[in-house]
Subunit: 200 residues, 2 copies
DNA sequence: CGTATCCGGTAATGGCCAGTACCGGTAACG
DNA sequence: CGTTACCGGTACTGGCCATTACCGGATACG
């Protein structure tokens, strides 16, 4: 039920669809900054320049709002179809590192980190959060590495699933626990010093 | 100020020092299970078979209690002096994987994960939590890897600081986000397939 | 011994904040 | 046009705990 029941038959003014995006974006911003517990509905409303009523007219609770925001965040992912294909794994992985994507990934990781405490209790959220976000990054890596294996660039007995987690895991740790930014140097070093050696 | 001011000059019964450990242990257990927000003072009291007053007689707030518990958790670390020394890096790292340590590390990671949302807001906690816990594990790895470099077992230009984070980061991701246990197979694979190739 | 203080319980107190109700104003249905 | 429902604001309500206050026993200091 990501989209609430918007099929109206009644009279009068309709919900303004442009407010939705503003509210969901504000939700992610606040989540990334202060986590689920620190996030107050009023902060989201204020940042979205909306009244609390406007939020509650769309989502029945804070929890539902957060679930939709996180789910939507997971949907704007890299898109497994349009992955780079430069002919080498190193080139592919580095092509994945565009500055906008890095910033976006950083926000995603921060959102998830601020959510970990409720993952255990809330079932659907854990799914959306983990699978849809870091998960997409891992999936992209999996595809790229598998290609390298098929191409003979990487050794045939490599554990693709396992190695696909390498870069996202290390990055998540750097962002969430060390509080550092995700810079290109770090990622390039990860590819050259760790991932590629592991595939030879 | 880890230890409260216990220098009493007044008359009457003293604080029973054996209650402290029970309460701090209970705090860590609850934190690992439900995170900071989900943790209610009453849960801790109940698990420690204590009254709430007994807690508040020792710590002025939930926050202070958690800080001391987490700080103390950081102090029972591997102990950089008694690190294994088997002659090979592989042997050393695997010797570090004792079942009790794995269970303890898993609890630590779960505690930290349930705390991430408050790390941003509370300064000292982030320090205690990150540096003192995963940090100790990273430090142990750093020492072992440096030894391997000195010994000529690993290549001389290896970035020891960087590689020391490999196993702890990957393990933390596995425990905190994937919710899986930290088993020996996973760690051995990490050493053989990732760390050692990166050092050749 | 006498009493100050602790102990494990349990019953207030009080603040924070999700959720609700309304307000004056406005846009979009019939 | 006349409703009806929305919009951004701003109270108000109610529940959940952190924190405090007590209770009827222990206990250890002087």
């Amino acid at each position: 039920m990501p989209e609430n029941d918007r099929t109206r038959t009644t009279r009068g003014r309709q919900l303004d669809p442009t407010r939705d995006a503003a509210i969901l974006d504000a939700t992610l911003d606040v989540l990334a900054e202060v986590g689920y517990t620190g996030m107050k509905i009023e902060m989201v409303a204020e940042r979205a320049k909306a009244g609390k009523g406007t939020l509650y007219r769309r989502w029945p609770s804070k929890e539902e709002l957060v679930i939709e925001a996180v789910t939507r965040m997971g949907q704007r992912d890299v898109g497994a179809e349009q992955l780079p294909d430069t002919g080498t794994l190193r080139g592919d992985i580095i092509a994945l590192i565009r500055p906008e994507l890095m910033e976006e990934q950083s926000q995603k990781v921060r959102v998830i980190a601020g959510l970990t405490s409720m993952l255990a209790s809330h079932e659907g959220l854990a799914e959306s959060a983990n699978n849809a976000n870091i998960g997409a990054w891992i999936t992209a890596n999996r595809v790229l590495i598998q290609r390298a294996v098929d191409r003979g660039e990487a050794k045939a007995d490599a554990d693709v699933d396992f190695l696909a987690r390498l870069i996202p895991s290390m990055s998540a740790h750097r962002i969430a626990l060390e509080g550092k930014a995700l810079d290109k140097d770090f990622l390039v070093k990860l590819v050259d010093e760790v991932l590629l050696p592991a595939l030879r």
